[in-house]
Symmetry: C2
């Protein structure tokens, strides 16, 4: 299965995404607590930006919706900057139906603060403990995958610290994705701020393991895999 | 009062901090929720780094304890990287008594998560709401100001979105600081990620207003003010 997929990849021509529109999310989101404080996560955006670069090099029109990161926009990529999960959701849903491929690579905050304070919250000697009530954010990738009209080929990411394969396969089914890329973020050698990554991609009836290598070469392999799947779908 | 302080500043020679050790904190802190998520704030670290640069140029030995920022270390400055408020507290208290001047410019998180999850927390369909219990972090600047033996000249910062002057003067008294620099972070024109700032410095019986200008020139003015105050103290 795996060997067959690899051989198929190696035998394939250069990925041909010309004429295709690829919508990608990258980076973390920031969920405001007050004008000064926020909730976020350790995503650097590097994997999403590498995917945008690889898709652009494969000839696609690329739109990159990104949370706050410190990265230069790859050549030829249209960048849309957002902060919160709700802003990212809006930016994505406006563009999803016009895209052929959606890659949800951002580490979207699952929860946001229920009530954002308009002024900076004060620490007082009385409140030694503080309770923050969080509510669920919209599920961007599930909403894209659930589109019934002009649904793009939908690729998700699973960044986990344990039970990676099981969780990724469950997410593939549950969110009705076409492909999911799983990476273990418990190691400092890969994921998040690292320049390297190791990813296993799962789809219905197959998987492809990409060993630890630079994020840009992982990105080229994923874009190639997606292009192959699109071709198969059309046949 | 203010005019006198300004004239005194202008009349003074170049700040002479040679032979002095200056300990500075900068940037935000990050408080882990789990291996992936954290609480933080919008501090860019620019003001603290500018102060470190200005102090080094004034001839001081400078130690800069900084949270996660995307800034180059100024020439001749010793940099100590930390993540959490507790780590910053430890790094500062180890060095405070050996410092002549302490400038607490970091935006230290007032609260941290009571129990940090060892594995990434899972979003399940059952928990639409999540409660995060926060506990108070140590108060770094108050702990430095409260030193009874080898206490450095202690300078604080107050970043507020309202009632700035009142809050800053209250903080000066309450935490027994020698000087406090107040800046309004409600405007996008100054503070946090901006290259500019506008600050009013308060001390017992005086204040100095520094109008909107590049952070590095604000930093030189503050270092000059501190050097003057140190000289007065010795006399």
């Amino acid at each position: 299965e795996l060997v067959a997929a690899l051989e198929q990849l190696q035998a394939s021509r250069l990925p041909a995404l010309s004429g295709k529109t690829v919508l990608i999310t990258a980076g973390p989101t920031r969920e405001a607590i007050d004008p000064v404080r926020f909730l976020s996560n350790h995503s650097s955006g590097k994997m999403g930006f590498a995917l945008a670069e690889a898709a652009a090099k494969a000839g696609a029109r690329v739109q990159l919706v990104t949370g706050p990161v410190n990265l230069a926009t790859p050549a030829g990529v249209e960048r849309i900057d957002v902060q919160s999960a709700q802003q990212m959701h809006t930016a994505v849903m406006q563009r999803a139906s016009a895209a052929d491929i959606f890659i949800g690579c951002a580490a979207v905050a699952d929860y946001r603060v229920a009530e954002v304070a308009e002024q900076k919250m004060k620490k007082t000697s009385s409140n030694d403990e503080l309770t923050l009530t969080l509510v669920k954010n919209p599920d961007i990738i599930a909403d894209v995958a659930a589109l019934t009209y002009q649904r793009p080929f939908t690729v998700g990411f699973a960044a986990e610290t344990e039970n990676l394969a099981n969780y990724a396969k469950d997410k593939l089914q549950r969110k009705k994705l076409d492909l999911i890329c799983a990476n273990d973020v418990s190691s400092k050698e890969q994921g998040f701020h690292s320049e390297h990554n190791a990813i296993t991609a799962y789809w219905q009836g197959g998987e492809l393991a990409l060993e630890r290598q630079p994020k840009i070469s992982i990105a080229h392999a994923i874009i190639e895999l997606i292009a192959n799947k699109l071709t198969q779908k059309r046949q």
